[in-house]
Amino acid sequence: MKIHAYPYNDFVIPFLIGTVLLFAIIIFKYVKWIRRFSDEQRKVIRSNWYSWKIFPAIWEMIREGLIHVRIIKKNLLLGIMHQAFALGWFLLIVVGAIESRDAFFTMQHEQSIEYVRELQQQNGWHVYNTGEDKNPEYLNQRRYRVETEGGIARIEYKRPFYVGIFYRYFVHKAPASFRQHKAYSDLMDALLLYVFLGLTMAMVKIFWSKILGMRRTTKHTLVDRFAKFSLWMIFPMRLLAESVTACLYGNGGFFTQAVGNLFDPMIVRGLETSVWMLYSLMLGVFFVTMPFTRYMHIFTELLLIYFRKIGVTEGDKKTGYTYFELNACSRCGVCISGCPMDKVLENHEIQSVYLIRSLRNQERVSRLKMIADNCLMCDRCTVDCPVGIDLSSLRRMTRDKGKLDTTGNYEYLAKKQTPFNAIGRVAYFGGCMSHLTPGITESMEKIFNAAGQKYWYMDKLRTICCGRPLQQQGFLKQAEELRQKNTEMIEKSGSTMLVTSCPICYQSFKKEYNLNIPIMHHTEYIDMLIKQGRLKVRHDDRKVSYHDPCELGRGCGIYDEPREVLGAVTNLQKTRFQREKSVCCGFNLGNTKLSLEEQTAIRNASLQNLTSKPVDAIVTACPMCKKAFQHATNDYPVRDIAEVVAENLIN
């Protein structure tokens, strides 16, 4: 004969409904999105989903999903707040599950009939007999009495998955030989306190976000606020429920017991199941709202990291991956603090977090367009995003011009395109903007000559645009046409390498073209020449500050080469916002909505950073940035790296 012992109380129902709905909705959504993956993305997933790439993916899931390393590095307090919620709650669930598993294992081992009786009477467990001589009459009843035949009965403890969540209620008194009981309850209390630490910080953040290193927090919608409230209430409710039980039965840890001792057992006795019901209700409400609010990020983030790590990338059109990206955003607002549009222009509506929300909630088209168009595309938010969402691609996608984007517009280019035989030479592409800063192109020619490198200045007379400005504004077909023209020209020439002076073109050639020759920005190229000893330069005694152009730094990750070149020819000063944090010069081609006055305001902020320490010159590596700063100041000479090197050449 067997005795089955099953912990159950009606208060678990809200929790169960919430869980079932949550997973049903999430799985439904995920299947829908996965079906929308493009063929290319499917191919990548199919060939990589079970490869070694899984390990770095899992590592990043732990690092970013739980520990939040990226936010901690940026700002310790903010990181700890996020970590407390994610890691704290995760551990509460995991440790709770392990604790209940251990306890049940001990119970099973003890086989104590008195203990079962106690569970049945005090904790309301369902205990019933089964076996060969099972009585059908018993089985139809809700509650059964424990009956043993002369004390020989095997007790089977059932452990439904919710036991870990409501453990303190279902096990008032730990089984006699479960010695770790006290340690477990203290550990669980410590974890709860850890979550409370995060909760407190989150509340402080609402009123005083600066203390957590955020200039400004996200403005949330009503639904999001409601979900946040239900999330926040889960933990106080858990504390209340556990301490009421601790008050009555003395099974709490150091924290819940201390709180529980404040209550009067006579008063709280009748309230026990009610407070547990409240706790369960909060969990249920949160779970149901989760798939429809920003908290959808909890699971989506992990999947996004997995897909990204195995090599799925964003395309030009909306795909299933886009949905994962949109839903992986937790609206943490980290993207807001760095945004120059927010910082300088006090525009609090267009940041990436709002773009994503607007896309996800399918807000009005006019509003969406307003948000999508008004952005510098400086990628400042992309480097900050803790989940690594490809924010610029999302924005570009939203800018799609539809039927304005026509084909066959650039037939006229072919007429004056003269083929050039440049076999064995380096092709030099100045770019449109470099034609407005002849100093850069002249210096580059000087450098080529000094290094004894034969080159072909392919757009000396007339430039075909690289196509990126069109691409950024959503004219994809038109951009493709320009790319074809340039590709044709470069491939026909037979040149061995492409050097470009403009970071905009550089990023385009690097990411949007399929050229089969090496592509270098002139900072990389000069760095290579100096290291190879082909370029002799002297070191002068000027002090300069370097401005990282958006497209070169954040866009292509070229931070070190320019610094090494500058280190070789002059004295480079550090600035407050440099490398990933550099402030856009305000004239980025990504934005068409900003007026000159607004651009100027951003530029001045950027300039202020560069001149915060006394310097003799401002150096940059982009004709656009150079032009922008040149207009701004007469106090400092503005130079391109190529010009600084050309000035310091030893003939």
Partner: protein, 111 residues
């Protein structure tokens, strides 16, 4: 080849009562900086597309201002949106935005 000979040009008389400036005013709403334009032609002088073909952005926006919209949509497609015009404009007119808006307005009213 450029023909330097003399020819009779068609008269271009405008009936100012009939010219509709509706589109121009809409453009000004979308891109107010266009009001500042004094038609110096710097934009055309620096234009990348102009180095290849007979395309003058100054002529296009001047026609737009006058309410002569024929053929402008086709002409505007030649623009590569590289942004040199915006950078050299002495009056701070946001030409890239102007061009996109002109295309949008012309496209909307084409139907």
């Amino acid at each position: 080849m450029i023909d330097f000979g003399f020819a009779l040009k068609q008269t271009r008389q405008e009936n100012l009562d009939k010219v509709s400036l509706e589109k121009y005013h809409k453009l000004l709403e979308l891109e107010p900086s266009f009001k500042r334009c004094f038609q110096c032609g710097n934009c055309s002088a620096t234009c990348s597309a102009r180095q290849f073909t007979d395309f003058s952005i100054r002529r296009v926006h001047t026609s737009f201002r006058r309410g002569e919209y024929d053929g402008l949509a086709q002409e505007l497609r030649k623009c590569m949106l590289c942004g040199k015009c915006t950078l050299v404009c002495p009056r701070g007119v946001n030409l890239r935005s102007l061009i996109i808006n002109m295309r949008q307005i012309l496209d909307e009213t084409e139907k």
